[in-house]
């Protein structure tokens, strides 16, 4: 089959840099492929994707060639490139340019001079296919992140492209919304035979759709082939192991012999049932000694908040924070988690109720006094940056809290692996690095309570582990953490207690293992895989394989 896109010995070096970001990449993409490009942060995934469409190419020096249907992509005219190669960015907010959904769908068609009748036909077709009919006249600013990303996809689809390039399209979405988006992407691929090339960190959902896995390591092509073999390769490499989704990782960790690695909970369960493999719980490790409790009280009583445009968001929320605890608040987008955190941080004043820190109402405290005791990290950390270098930002924040910056700043930079970018402007960093700087800013004031809004959003699995371990260390020293998150695995791995936020209300917090064991949907992939045999299992390490009748010996985790 003739290749649709061909990259031959592609090497790319960003302007002003000496080390190439991509080195000698040779890759063929065939019509109908669904390719997932995987790699750690900085491995060159996004750079590779941007080489495939001339308008997206960053400034730098390119060697080698990328062709589309035999023509170098740099030689494609603007209209051919727009029509044949679609692109959907990571942040759903940056693409829309028009006021309403219908105008946004018409935008690329207008750019290419389509007549009104032709536009009507295309828009009707795409809106019907993606179920956007009811949203056509909705202002773009009123759409949720998931709806917005769907509109971005629709706007690209309206031009009937041959290939769609997607750069971590679900990174900013909650798991349910991400799943819905990927289901639609699968429909686009299966029913319209459109070639999909997608970069992604969260592989648990996307790999089941892909027919090829491309693995990049330090800008080089480390693997290109079927998904299952690629996962085996990734699991063998310690730095890439966290990227392997939980279900295939479980089979690899327990050395379960399978011809093709299961990628979903359903196929995993089927394989376990067919092979009649049995598992038992591993005795839990001794509970960790409780962290030294700080002497403070943080309580919320009857907190109700209403936004003028969207109505009630918090309804009579009560919360009594245990000093030294790590509470995870889980809920869908729009359930009120972020609003609650901003109220607890004293940044927003609710219409009713009080939040008190040691009998002081938090939003009435002097800002300086409050930020020495409460720290808050937004889900978009750039909104807390000043536009200085990393070192300058951290030094200024340390001075604000009266902390000695001379030792503390270098220490945090080292611990969070930010030393190499210490002199870079915070707005020029990658999303993962910005999250780490945000965390350092929140912790440098040595607060008693840390409020984190989606701390793992957009992070690759390895950075997520780094963040988790880093926070755990502070928690062991007595830091109280309250975080809002969609990330079940992260919450299950690190939080002490978890609770649901739903319809503006907060449920009673429960111990983490009990919370995830009781849940049916909102739990870890391993719990869903093994709950029939070991209901308390949350991770692969929680179980061991037991001997079959007259058969094999135990295989331990």
């Amino acid at each position: 089959m003739r290749e649709l896109i061909k990259s031959t010995h592609l090497t790319f070096t960003y302007a002003g840099q000496t080390v190439p970001t991509l080195t000698d990449i040779s890759l063929d993409i065939h019509p109908g492929d669904f390719v997932t490009v995987v790699g750690a942060t900085g491995s060159g995934k996004t750079t590779l994707l941007k080489q495939l469409k001339t308008e997206l190419k960053p400034a730098g020096i390119q060697q080698g060639q990328v062709t589309y249907q035999g023509t170098p992509v740099a030689d494609l005219t603007g209209d051919v490139s727009a029509q044949q190669l679609g692109y959907v960015a990571q942040d759903p907010q940056v693409q829309p340019i028009m006021a309403t959904v219908i105008e946004e769908l018409a935008f690329p068609l207008e750019n290419l001079g389509y007549a009104t009748a032709a536009m009507n036909g295309r828009i009707a077709e795409v809106a019907n296919f993606l179920g956007l009919n009811s949203l056509l006249h909705t202002p773009v600013q009123d759409l949720s992140g998931g709806q917005l990303q769907l509109v971005n996809l629709a706007s690209v689809l309206a031009l009937k492209p041959q290939v769609i390039l997607l750069d971590e399209p679900t990174a900013q979405l909650d798991p349910t919304t991400a799943q819905n988006f990927l289901n639609i992407l699968q429909q686009v691929h299966d029913e319209l035979a459109i070639t999909i090339i997608l970069t992604e960190h969260r592989l648990s959902r996307v790999l089941a759709l892909a027919n090829r896995l491309v693995l990049l390591e330090h800008g080089r092509l480390a693997y290109d082939g079927p998904v299952s073999a690629g996962l085996v390769r990734m699991h063998a490499e310690p730095t890439l192991r966290p990227f392997v989704p939980p279900v295939p990782a479980f089979f690899l960790a327990h050395h379960l012999p399978v011809a093709e690695l299961p990628l979903t909970v359903t196929t995993g369960r089927q394989v376990i049932a067919q092979q009649a493999w049995r598992f038992a719980a591993v005795p839990s490790p001794q509970p960790q000694p409780s962290p030294p409790s700080s002497d403070f009280s943080l309580t919320a009583k009857g907190v109700s908040l209403r936004y003028p445009t969207t109505g009630d968001i918090l309804h009579q929320v009560d919360l009594d924070v245990t000093p030294g605890s790590w509470l995870a608040i889980i809920g869908k987008n729009g359930s009120g988690k972020s609003t609650l955190l901003s109220v607890l941080a004293g940044l927003r004043k609710p219409q009713h109720g009080k939040v008190k820190l040691d009998q002081q109402v938090v939003w009435k405290m002097k800002n300086h006094d409050r930020l020495q005791r409460l720290s808050f990290l937004s889900q978009n950390p750039t909104e807390q940056f000043s536009g200085e270098t990393v070192t300058e930002e951290l030094t200024a924040q340390a001075k604000l809290a009266g902390v000695d910056a001379t030792e503390r700043v270098p220490q945090l930079l080292t611990e969070l692996q930010l030393t190499a970018v210490a002199d870079h402007n915070t707005f020029d960093l990658s999303g993962g690095q910005q999250q780490l700087v945000g965390l350092a800013l929140a912790l440098i004031t040595q607060p008693q309570v840390l409020l984190l809004d989606e701390p793992t959003k957009g992070l690759d699995p390895a950075t997520k582990q780094l963040v988790g371990r880093f926070l755990q260390r502070f928690h062991e020293d007595g830091l109280t953490i309250i975080m809002a998150s969609h990330d079940m695995d992260f919450c299950a791995a690190f939080a002490d207690t978890c609770t649901f936020m739903f319809d503006g209300r907060l449920n009673q917090p429960q111990p983490t293992r009990q919370f995830f064991t009781d849940n049916f949907l909102s739990t870890t992939a391993i719990n869903r895989l093994l709950r029939q045999q070991v209901p308390t299992a949350l991770f692969s390490r929680d179980v061991t394989q037991v001997a079959m009748k007259g058969g094999e010996k135990d295989r331990t985790a």
């Binding site: 029509q83 960015a89 309403t100 935008f107 031009l159 909104e383």
Partner: protein, 297 residues
């Protein structure tokens, strides 16, 4: 100032953008060419009624409170600065003699009503001529301006949202615009604007690349046409033009205007008649609504 956007099913929102735009040109002209109290009052009251009919009344009331304070200020300045005409009260402030004159009071009220009416007409304009309609109107004449306008309005919206979030979140960095001395507050507002600018430029660069990736600039742009000319557009356009022509004709005959402000009175000759026609003109959209509903199946 935006109070809302009309319900899609109203006559006024269904009107062809060109006809609606002409009606607003006529309305703004009327607000500018009369200076008699009764006429400006008729226009102001008529516009209050029209806004109350089409928009959420609570929002209109909030707008009126804001407009009212501005109107009161205009009146006050007139009373203080205009010392001509028959004095109603004379006072002394040291060596300074202060007069409150009938002309100043009446002319101040008229000016305030004109300004209030202008703001309400603009609120109404915002509700009827939405961005797509404005872009549709401008596209055949100045396509680049139409596109620029669309992009700017979206960007202004994004900036406003972003600025609100920055005001809240930058408190964690010690930037609080509601605490401390005024000079400090101004400096902190400057810091916030600088951060907003850096953040926005970075996002705008990405948006520009994504526009180009979707073919922007590759060919001459066309425009997605969503508005069709209907019989009701012709009827409304002709009737409003006729009524407007009558009112302008009356004005050319000297009705509703006093050149010498010292002669300014509560009621001029023919004001009642001109006022009645004016109310008729303002209520044309409501008459259209009645007709539109009568034509429902």
């Amino acid at each position: 100032m935006r109070v809302g956007i009309f319900d899609e099913l109203t006559f006024f929102s269904r009107l062809h953008p060109l006809v609606a735009a002409i009606y607003f040109v006529e309305l703004f002209t009327l607000l500018l060419i009369f200076n008699h109290l009764v006429l400006t009052l008729a226009l102001f009251v008529g516009l209050c009624g029209l806004c109350g009919w089409y928009f959420d009344r609570q929002k209109v009331w909030r707008t009126l409170k804001g407009v009212g304070s501005l109107m009161a200020m205009i009146w006050l300045f007139n009373v203080i600065l205009n010392q001509t005409g028959r004095p109603l009260w004379i006072g002394h402030l040291g060596s300074l003699t202060v007069r409150i004159t009938q002309t100043a009071v009446l002319y101040g009220v008229t000016m305030a009503l004109s300004l209030g009416g202008m703001i309400l007409a603009f609120v109404l304009f915002n509700g009827v001529i939405t961005t797509p309609k404005l872009s549709y109107l401008l596209f055949p004449v100045v396509p680049r301006l139409a596109m620029l306008l669309t992009i700017s309005l979206r960007m202004v919206n994004l900036f406003t949202q972003k600025f609100r979030r920055l005001v809240m979140l930058q408190k964690t960095r010690g930037i609080v615009v509601s605490e401390g001395a005024w000079r400090g507050r101004l400096q902190k507002t400057g810091q916030l604007l600088r951060i907003l600018l850096i953040d926005s430029v970075s996002a705008a660069m990405e948006t520009a690349v994504l526009m180009e990736a979707r073919g922007f600039g590759a060919k001459k742009r066309s425009h997605y046409q969503t508005f069709r000319w209907q019989a009701m557009d012709a009827v409304f356009g002709v009737v409003s033009l006729l009524v407007f022509a009558i009112i302008v004709g009356l004005r050319l005959h000297g009705w509703g205007w006093t050149g010498d402000i010292t002669q300014f009175g509560v009621l001029g000759p023919g004001d009642w008649w001109a006022g009645l026609i004016m109310i008729g003109f303002i209520n044309l959209p409501l008459m259209g609504e009645v007709g539109y509903r009568l034509c429902e199946n």
